[in-house]
């Protein structure tokens, strides 16, 4: 069976603890992060987090919970089978 792979791109504040806040949302829902990349491009206001997860039952719920975090500005999501 093909995996459903989701890639979430987050714009977040560049502050200590942001990664923990984001990771907790995934961990609490039993979701394993398969790939994560964080950078703060020079001259931009936000840090960019790119997170890849597989076969998540309620990705909409995870997205909503991420958007609720005070340090998260935006979440965009793309999904594909692989």
């Amino acid at each position: 069976m093909l995996d459903i792979v989701y890639t979430l791109t987050l714009a977040v504040r560049d502050q200590p603890g942001v990664l923990v806040r984001v990771a907790q949302v995934f961990a609490r829902r039993g979701c394993n992060i398969s790939r994560i990349h964080v950078e703060h491009p020079a001259g931009t206001a936000w840090s960019k987090m790119t997170i890849t997860v597989k076969n998540v039952a309620r990705i909409d719920q995870i997205t909503n919970q991420l958007e609720k975090l005070v340090d998260v500005h935006s979440v965009t999501i793309t999904g594909h089978s692989a």
Partner: protein, 568 residues
């Protein structure tokens, strides 16, 4: 000025009246600033940090204003975690300021260093570790803004001792810096129109009102909406007070131990409008069966609650008050006489009831207190059987008069919450209904209540059991009692007297009214009423966890029930 004084100034700017606190090494500069700043804010010295958090919670729920807690690092901060979780689950605004080790020692396992920033992350709306003295006023302002806007919640601010004792050279009005936080929103009017259209075509509509109605202070608007649409209203446990339970359209509380008529109404309805409730498992039971054939509309200020449990036909992100006001613009008055008569028949057939045939019951004591206080007291509860009976028999008819730990189900909450509520509303009668189990978790705050001569009525409904767990063991675990027998309780009356409170005991239904009158006449100190009640009474109606509402048990069952699979 040092950072600690800047904190006190920032709290003054927010209109803080009370700080519920307990000191310790890392918090000494902030406690010192309470004296040296000559602030009008009153420090309430508690006996345990959990007590402080629940007091702040009770204060917040009785006023709508955030409660403030000040504790030290390490164990002091650790002891507020249950209080934060309780407030977080029930969307209560609270500010917790903790002392912390000095910055160079962070991460070095220094004395009383706890990483409270990371420990509390899942149980707060947001938290801070202040790293610069000059940031303190902005952080405090942000903390209050976050705690009170959108869906409220607790915010923790961790302050290293060298930050609080450092020289403050900043400004007190530095603007907030929350670029990623949005709480304002535009109401989607098309969705409102869809709700109005479905409602207009409904034959059996029901409104479900949750805590969100109370937080938005939308009780009066809700009453007008219900009356205009002649639509009955049920509430969640935390929604008690959002709609007067004495109103002809009130169905009382829904859910696991809700009224039979509320559960039957929701089972039979063809239209359900949920305003400000998150479809908790205690009201929904079996998700797949809940309002299966009804049109469900859900209004919540927190978008992450929409479609979380129930896939609503219309899901609207909005403040309850604004949504109700806008909805009233697009609805046309309706009469639902047949439906309301049908529900009246259920009210007659399946009333909430109890009998004292086996001796004094908790229900009788609660009912007698309800009558004597004319239903006007602020009521706090602990968690368990007494909580459900208090919800059933102490009808709530005003906002901010029912204070109970719902989501977290925190034993030990009721009594300190009553202290916070009495500070907030000194002129009101405050009644704490507690069990003998929960009361022993925070009874040390008798000292705090006595020192301040708070005339709280503490009603210990004493069955010498963890009654709700015993009930489950009786019904679902072949009556095997495990870890629920509390024989060996202290003499609560003597205990109260030892602290300086009045103590009264009730041992029979016949003497209940006279003893409660005696208690209500005491207004210069706390009074503890120990009611020795029947030990093995069970709460009904009951819907086993995870079962559909149609499997409601109204009368005590005569055969063994299967173990529930849903929730806990």
């Amino acid at each position: 000025m040092d950072g600690a004084t800047a904190i006190i100034k920032a709290l003054e700017a927010q209109g803080v009246e009370y700080i519920f606190g307990y000191s310790g090494g890392a918090a000494i500069p902030i406690f010192d600033a309470i004296i040296t700043s000559k602030t009008a804010i009153k420090l309430i010295l508690v006996r345990h940090e959990q007590g402080a958090a629940h007091m702040a919670d009770g204060y917040a729920r009785a006023t709508g204003k955030p409660g403030v807690v000040l504790v030290t690092s390490g164990p002091g901060a650790g002891n507020v975690v249950t209080g934060l979780m309780t407030a977080h689950m029930d969307s209560v605004p609270m500010i917790v300021i903790c002392g912390q080790q000095i910055r160079p020692m962070l991460g070095m396992d220094a004395f009383q260093e706890a990483d409270i920033f990371n420990i509390t992350m899942p149980v707060v709306k947001h938290n801070y570790l202040a790293r610069e003295t000059n940031d303190l006023p902005r952080i405090i302002a942000e903390a209050f803004h976050l705690a009170t806007t959108g869906r409220p919640g607790p915010v923790l601010v961790d302050v290293p001792k060298d930050v609080s004792s450092g020289l403050f050279t900043g400004t007190h009005d530095e603007p907030m810096d929350l670029p990623a936080y949005t709480h304002s929103h535009k109401i989607d009017h098309q969705k409102l129109q869809n709700i109005a259209t479905a409602w207009a075509g409904a034959k059996r509509p029901v409104i479900l009102a949750g805590h969100g109605v109370l937080i938005a202070k939308a009780g009066a608007e809700l009453a007008r909406l219900a009356e205009t649409m002649d639509t009955p209203v049920t509430t969640t446990l935390l929604g008690k007070g959002a709609f007067p339970e004495t109103h002809r359209l009130s169905l009382g509380m829904l859910g696991m131990h809700g009224t039979a008529y509320a559960n039957k109404a929701v089972t039979e309805c063809d239209f359900l409008l949920n305003i400000g409730s998150r479809f908790d498992d205690r009201i929904v039971g079996d998700v797949s069966a809940f309002c299966k054939d009804a049109f469900v509309a859900h209004i919540d200020i927190d978008a992450s609650e929409l479609h979380k449990i129930i896939n609503a036909a219309v899901a609207l992100k909005a403040d309850a008050k604004e949504a109700i006001a806008a909805l009233r613009q697009v609805i046309k008055p309706h009469k639902h006489s047949a439906w309301n008569e049908h529900l009246d028949a259920y009210r007659q057939q399946f009333p909430l009831k109890y009998n004292n045939g086996r001796g004094l019951t908790m229900q009788h004591v609660i009912d007698a207190m309800y009558k004597l206080t004319k239903g006007e007291a602020i009521v706090t509860t602990d968690v368990g059987q007494h909580q459900m009976w208090a919800a059933q028999f102490y009808k709530t008819s005003q906002p901010e008069h029912w204070i109970s730990s719902g989501g977290a189900g925190t034993m030990g909450f009721g009594f300190p919450a009553a202290i916070g509520a009495q500070f907030a509303r000194p002129g009101k009668t405050v009644v704490a209904f507690v069990g003998d189990g929960g009361f022993q978790m925070t009874l040390f705050e008798l000292a705090t209540a006595c020192i301040h001569k708070l005339p709280i009525k503490i009603v210990v409904l004493n069955n010498h059991y963890l009654g709700m767990v015993r009930q489950w063991q009786e019904l679902f675990y072949d009556n095997r009692e495990s870890g629920v027998n509390l024989e060996g309780n202290p003499d609560f009356v003597k205990l109260a007297e030892a602290y300086g409170a009045a103590g009264i005991s009730i041992n029979s239904p016949e003497e209940t009214e006279a003893k409660l009158r005696e208690a209500l006449a005491i207004t210069d100190r706390p009074v503890l009423i120990n009611a020795e009640v029947v030990k093995t009474e069970n709460v009904f109606p009951m819907i086993p966890a995870g079962a559909p509402l149609t499997q409601m048990i109204i009368e005590p069952p005569t055969e063994q029930l299967t173990k529930p699979t849903g929730s806990t």
